[in-house]
């Protein structure tokens, strides 16, 4: 009984923290429609700032608290609202999600820049020196007591704010009917600013209260509040009383788990993963949603052409060969991950880009693929790749089953919970056996070695050969993705993304379609993971955890998640440009961790993705045959000169990069020259007979895709 009481108190104190953070989250979500994945990260930054003021600079506790809670945190919230979130109206849920995930990544990066992660920072609880109070047979610390009191105060304060003040009523009005609230002078900007200010103050409060209880580390602290998310979902992201109830359920469950979970080697991970598992369960308990009707957004991804896809694949393979033959061994190791990460990013294209389903656990699938390769791919046995695809696809299909019920933010949270359950628990399991038949030792509680792949008698054991292999696999998979997009299945996915209700009334099996695309995507990620594993030669759970995977997701979306080019963009930025910048600018290399976050935050300005603009920019080359041929010849020539060692890598790289730019200018000039002698559109076919080019020009002006001249003439 004493033990029960003790853990009830522990649980209630944790609940109180979750309740505080979750109510801030719900406040911003209901009033602005943005689910702030970075809520925990705001708390984390606040905890670090408080540590700096209170323990490093020795400010008095009340001053430090007031500065953090009532000045810095609200200002930070207002900054986020004004600079980042306000531009997100009319964007898809995926874009909103990526922006807030990027904020999370960026803030973790920022904390690591300011506060060296390798230094330990002692963090005292409030009134740490005072004697705990006795409650019957057990005791309660002052910190616990304050935490619970703070949560109660927050509950009362929120109730007062929302029901007794004009701005609070305006907030509730905005939840009810935002356009009407605007018509009624609710001044939506002020309301959202206020919501962000209070939301981040509450995050800060929670962060400061939780920080003394755990190691002060940016990533851990940012994700600790996954439990607060569970509490928020429990309240359906709407009802504050339910959020508090949810927080108590989640907090106490965690308390009792730490008290009563039997001590054995399999379960410590479960305790760490329990918040994620609770979140998953809460998500499954949500009521069944109505079928989604049409959603409008600004995003549009054009249909890839066959020619463009083949050109892209050829270009990627050629780039792989060029890199493999020109780079030094250490460079190949550094940049070698571009294409394996690229394959994992590519797995997101059919799932997120075409089907509109969000998954934050692609890297976990990759981890499973790597494990399969490690255990079944002895001596590089390629059959292991097949197994990797099949096993991850099967797991992906199982994950998709609850996905029929979840969408948008809920699906993102569900897949994130799955990723956490894997990296905190499953991946850390010691050796176990299934029905006594198989002995499974996933990562051997540390790292596991992977043999290089052997294919048709050739062993891919050098970084160069792996680079060529991976670029070819990426190229092939990009062709597969394009084939899907152009084919029956792709049309079906896009249709489902647009309107599930319409698809159902046409007789489409939604569950089957979702399961298939999840399995396909998981299989691709598994293949990427298996290849990444054999490239790294030794893998550990850290290679595949949630936080590592988030930038891949974010940057692929920044690149343009509707096309293979977007995936490549994400991978090149993450595994190519970042290390390159770090090598070029060693003095600022530590600041680079913040870049993926910044890129994602910029997405709100261009939801179609960066590749879309790049492609438009280089379009003139593809349109002029002369320039296209000339460009390819020059690039091949440069490569030949480089191979003859007439120029060094830097010169080669510089020339190779300038060539397409020059080509664009040339193509544009050529075009303009020709345009001078052109017959105006309305006169064509009058003074001279129609030609194929005239039809094409007309189609272009009218915004139609190409039509065969003869077909058009007959029709």
């Amino acid at each position: 009984m004493d033990k029960f009481l003790t853990f009830t108190i522990v649980g209630l104190a944790t609940s109180a923290i979750y309740a505080v953070i979750a109510s801030g989250l719900v406040l911003t979500y209901t009033t602005t429609g943005i689910f702030n994945f970075a809520q925990g990260a705001i708390g984390m930054l606040a905890a670090f700032t408080y540590w700096q003021l209170r323990f490093s600079w020795g400010w008095p506790t009340p001053v430090a608290l007031i500065v953090v809670l009532f000045v810095l945190a609200p200002l930070f919230g207002i900054l986020i609202d004004r600079v980042i979130m306000r531009g997100l109206q009319d964007t898809s849920e995926t874009t909103k999600l990526v922006v807030s995930i990027s904020l999370l990544i960026g803030m973790i990066g920022l904390a690591q820049i300011i506060w060296d992660p390798n230094v330990s920072r002692p963090y005292a609880t409030f009134f740490a020196t005072s004697k705990p109070l006795a409650i019957g047979p057990t005791t309660i610390t002052w910190h616990q007591l304050i935490t619970i009191a703070v949560a109660i105060a927050v509950a009362i304060g929120l109730r007062f704010l929302l029901y007794a003040t004009r701005i609070g009523i305006a907030m509730r009005a905005a939840v009810d009917d935002r356009p009407l609230a605007t018509l009624n002078g609710a001044r939506p900007h002020r309301v959202s600013m206020f919501a962000w200010a209070i939301g981040s103050s509450l995050a800060a409060l929670g962060g400061i209260l939780i920080a003394p209880l755990v190691p002060l580390e940016a990533g851990t602290l940012s994700l600790l509040i996954i439990s607060a998310y569970a509490a928020a979902i429990f309240g359906r992201l709407r009802s504050f009383p339910l959020v508090f109830v949810g927080a108590i359920v989640v907090g106490c469950t965690e308390g009792y788990l730490s008290g009563y979970l039997p001590q054995n080697q399999y379960l410590p991970g479960l305790r760490l993963a329990s918040p994620a598992i609770l979140l998953f369960i809460v998500l499954l308990l949500l009521p069944n949603p109505r079928l989604r009707g049409r959603t409008r957004s600004r995003e549009f991804f054009p249909m890839p052409s066959r020619r463009g896809a083949l050109g892209f694949a050829a270009g990627v393979t050629a780039a792989g060969v060029v890199l493999a033959t020109t780079m030094s061994q250490p460079d190949l190791v550094t940049y070698g991950r571009v294409f394996s990460v690229g394959i994992i990013a590519l797995s997101l294209v059919p799932l997120v880009g075409f089907a509109g389903q969000v998954s934050l656990c692609q890297l976990s699938f990759a981890g499973i693929g790597a494990i399969v390769m490690a255990h079944l791919g002895h001596n590089g046995n390629p059959i292991a790749l097949v197994w990797a695809v099949l096993i991850t696809a099967a797991i992906g299909a199982v994950i998709a089953l609850p996905a029929l019920r979840l969408s948008g933010i809920y699906l993102a949270l569900g897949t994130a919970a799955f990723a956490i359950a894997l990296d905190r628990w499953i991946f850390t399991l010691p050796k176990f056996s299934v029905f006594g038949l198989f002995n499974i030792d996933l990562f051997q509680q540390g790292s596991v070695s992977v043999d290089p792949l052997r294919l048709f008698g050739f062993t891919f054991d050098t970084p160069g050969s792996q680079m060529v292999l991976l670029s070819s696999v990426f190229a092939l998979l990009s062709l597969l993705v394009v084939a899907i997009r152009r084919g029956r299945f792709g049309r079906r996915l896009l249709a489902m993304k647009d309107s599930e209700a319409a698809c159902a009334t046409l007789g489409l099996n939604l569950l089957g379609t979702k399961v298939t695309v999840f399995a396909l995507s998981a299989g691709m990620a598994g293949l990427g993971g298996a290849l990444l594993g054999s490239q790294l030669s030794s893998v550990s759970p850290q290679n595949f955890d949630l936080v590592t995977g988030l930038p891949i997701f974010a940057l692929a979306v920044v690149g343009g998640i509707g096309a293979a080019g977007g995936a490549l963009f994400g991978a090149v930025s993450l595994a190519g440009l970042l290390p390159l910048l770090a090598a070029l600018l060693p003095s600022v290399s530590q600041y680079l961790v913040i870049l993926p976050g910044l890129a994602g935050i910029g997405l709100g300005r261009n939801p179609n993705g960066a590749v879309h603009d790049l492609r438009e920019g280089f379009m003139p080359i593809a349109k002029s045959r002369i320039v296209l041929v000339a460009t390819v010849v020059v690039l091949a020539g440069l490569y030949a000169i480089r191979m003859l060692d007439a120029i060094d890598n830097w010169t080669y790289a510089l020339l190779t990069m300038t060539t397409p730019l020059v080509a664009v200018v040339a193509a544009t000039l050529l075009r303009r020259e020709r345009a001078d002698g052109v017959v105006p559109l309305e006169w064509r076919g009058v003074t001279e007979p129609w030609t194929d080019d005239d039809v094409r020009d007309l189609d272009r002006v009218l915004g139609l895709t190409e039509v065969e001249l003869h077909g058009a003439a007959r029709g």
Binding site: Y163, R166, I169, A170, R172, A173, V175, D176, D177, L180, A181, L183, N184, G185, A186, R187
Partner: protein, 254 residues
Amino acid sequence: MSNLSAVEPPDNPARSNETGHQDHNLLELRGIRAAYERIDVLFGVDLVVPEASVVALLGPNGAGKTTTLRVAAGLHVPSAGDVLIAGRRVNGAKPEELARHGLCMIPEGRGIFPNLTVRENLRMMTYVGRSLAEIEEIAYSRFPRLAERRTQTAGTLSGGEQQMLAMARGMATEPALLILDELSMGLAPIIVAELYEMVAQVARSGVSILVVEQFASTVLGVADYAAIMVHGRIERAGRPDELAADLSKAYLGG
């Protein structure tokens, strides 16, 4: 009906009426054309709301009635034509600017917040610079039934009461011109009749009212003038008694 384009500019008595002199027209629409994206909806609408009168805009669905109201309230920018308020051209003015000039629009589907109480709904109106007490005073004196319901959540009110609340909210701005869109939506005829009695009371206190309504017969009992709109044009306009015969044809064909 097929030679609509040949019909001369609508003979709108509201215009030729003795009180219809330029300066006494609270709202005047001249040759309004409007489109959504590339679809034309209004093809030259002329409409006048004289001071202290009730004008009913009638017609079947899709005729462009709501668009006309939206143009008047500044919520939709017309592609051609002029909007005049009290004789002043206000083309392109923002809805909030027009609101400050005394125009209040109550949109279709009850302009209320269902999860807020009656009182909180009224409190949202304090932005006009009146205290809650004043607003409550205006609201409850016009709609006494709301006083009994002041602590009730608006969503639990009956349909008619919700519509009263919406009007009460509108009255808090003490508008000179009240624009009502489909007050009767989803309400039983007897409640609609009751609501229009209140509209008539509001009108008697000197507020001009432009109302779009499907329940034509009901509103004709209250209106001073009426216009029938079909396919983006005012097809007939006049005194209510002159129009009653045309209505059935406009709505049910035949």
